[in-house]
């Protein structure tokens, strides 16, 4: 018995290591693609790096600085050296290091993303279970319709509709922003982690906590619509598959309570495919933040990205692309390893 456990743990560790290695290779490839998009595809990369007001002498200087006169492999080597030192260049818009701009805005986006995913899981999984248990009946129809509406609704449109309904008509939630403007004077939040909810909670600043929480509701609901739909759908499909298996029928035949069978026995085995989808939707929601942050004027990475795109802030965009792809690869890695831990069959594939 003991050796079997060891064997399984070995398998899992080996799987995790293999996935880690392939992720590193993918990241090297990602850096090559980003390098091509930044330095090779544009006809005058140096001019783009300086911005719209480039003078010929500036262009010549930056061309030297970026090493654009050197052969491509050498250019890539220089680029990678800077990258590994955390140097993503200087933002044209703010004249500050891109990495600093990105890390400074990350908490706002993560706060939004985390709240949206909590909404998505808390609503999506139970809705999927409900739908599967009532297969073919009206709750099932309702959940299926809602989930297809959720995945078909453009985030940049849903946000506006929620603003009309909950701000203009019902006046329940604020229109936009992360906190109210006057809060800065009445109840300023001490910056510890830059997660406003967490900071105000830690300092016991309940006025700010409530204000920040209210500001979070509409943007995170907008961001959660797609994940809710997808998670409900996958949970339903996985539950339907599990519910018709012999061990569930046996459990029922033994007279075990329906709730216990559904939530303990069935959901446990249905959660693995759902987990993959949750990982996938985190990545999808990451791109959803572009729209949501623009609509709700949320001072995070998405808003910064869109501003940089419109200002042709080249170093910033390339930094964001690398940052985003790295995050995406890491999320996928974590989900795969987590899944292997929950479901031993995965690592045997």
């Amino acid at each position: 018995m003991y050796s079997v456990v060891n064997f399984q743990t070995m398998r899992k560790l080996e799987f995790a290591l293999r996935r880690l290695l392939s992720s590193i290779f993918v990241l090297i490839g990602v850096s090559i693609i980003a390098f091509f998009l930044a330095r090779v595809v544009p006809s005058n990369a140096a001019a783009l790096y300086i911005g719209p007001k480039a003078r010929p002498e500036d262009i010549a200087r930056v061309e030297k600085q970026l090493g654009l006169d050197k052969p491509l492999p050498v250019q890539y080597a220089i680029y990678m050296r800077e990258l590994l030192h955390g140097d993503l260049g200087i933002s044209i818009g703010s004249k500050r290091p891109v990495l600093q701009e990105l890390t400074g805005r990350l908490p706002a986006t993560l706060e939004l993303l985390a709240t949206a995913m909590i909404f998505a899981i808390l609503l999506g999984v139970p809705l999927g279970v409900l739908s599967a248990r009532a297969q073919g009946k009206w709750p099932d129809m309702f959940v299926r319709t809602a989930s297809i509406v959720g995945v078909s609704m453009p985030a940049f449109y849903l946000g506006l509709l929620l603003q009309i309904l909950f701000f203009r008509n019902l006046d329940l939630f604020p229109l936009a922003g992360r906190v109210s403007n006057d809060l800065r004077f009445t109840n300023p939040v001490e910056q510890i982690t830059n997660f406003i909810l967490l900071d105000s909670f830690l300092t016991g600043n309940w006025v700010a906590f409530k204000d920040a929480a209210l500001h979070l509701v509409l943007p995170s609901l907008t961001l959660a619509a797609y994940p809710i739909g997808l998670i409900a759908r996958m949970t339903r499909a996985a539950m339907l598959e599990v519910l018709e298996q012999d061990y569930i029928r046996t459990a029922r035949a033994y007279g075990i309570r329906d709730q216990v069978v559904t939530y303990l026995y069935a959901l446990k085995n249905a959660i693995s495919p759902t987990l993959t989808v949750i990982g996938l939707t985190v990545a999808f929601a990451l791109t959803g933040t572009f729209y949501v942050e623009v609509i709700f004027n949320w001072p995070g990475l998405g808003l910064f990205t869109v501003r940089s795109l419109l200002n042709l802030d080249y170093p910033a965009i390339m930094g964001i692309t690398l940052f985003g792809a790295t995050g995406y690869v890491l999320i996928n890695l974590i989900v795969d390893v987590l899944q292997a831990w929950i479901d031993p069959r995965v690592s045997l594939r």
Binding site: V30, I148, P154, F156, L160, I164, I295, I320
Partner: protein, 296 residues
Amino acid sequence: MSAVQVAEIETTQNTRTFRHVLNVIVRDPLSLVSTIVLVLFILIAIFAYQVAPSPEEGAGKTNVSNTMLAPSVEHLFGTDRLGRDMLSRVIMGARPALIIPIGVVAFAILLGAPLGAIAGYKGGWIDEVIMRITDLFLAFPSLLLAMAIVMALGRGLQSAAVALVISWWPWYTRLVRGVTISLRQRYFVEAAQAIGVSDWVIILRHILPNTISPILVQATVDMGTVILAMGGLAFLGLGTQPPNPDWGLMVSDGRTYILNQWWIATFPGMAIFIVVLAFNMLGDTLRDIFDPRQYR
């Protein structure tokens, strides 16, 4: 199983698909409605100049005496901040918002499917190289990759379309590779190999035609996502440029006035939602008939 039986099964499977699909669509009310809606929208997009009440305003001509009119009998969808008839704008906007995404998916298939067939049929190092390249492209969130490409190529409808093709083809390579691997062991491929047909002819004549059904199903499922991405790029100012009409761009224009002149953003947004919903419902039905993911 004798060769004759196998051949019979294979022909019935092939004829089954098209008629079977058509039957299911006609019998399922939701798919039927979705199909009708989509055909209608596509026809409107094609005949936009004939259908729009004011094609010039739809294309961008301003009319400053009519700014911000609420929906009425003359202007069913109202007018925008430059006095343009919103109904005409929405009709004309169907071209970049609906027809271009169809083109994007078509090009992604033309690029991705042959690569997938080669990878799946040849196997070995060719397969390895092609699949590792798809891994790279799929390592980016597709919208982010598309944004970076638009940045490198310069803003505009064309760049947005090219960017989406580049970020979408790997999905079809993966799909077709899977289908090809399962086809490779079938008797008709083995028979062709036995009489000395060259690899290229087998891929072109025997493999690719048999991947069309799963590709079409996947394409229907993907259409909604591509339309959303295209609309999103336009919304962010990276796709269609003003004064050209585009649903995503119109939603972005109307955003400023959302609390008072609600109609400017509402109708174009509704158009995107309806089209995406119709594609998703149709895609669901097609996927139920036969799941292209089973090959992945």
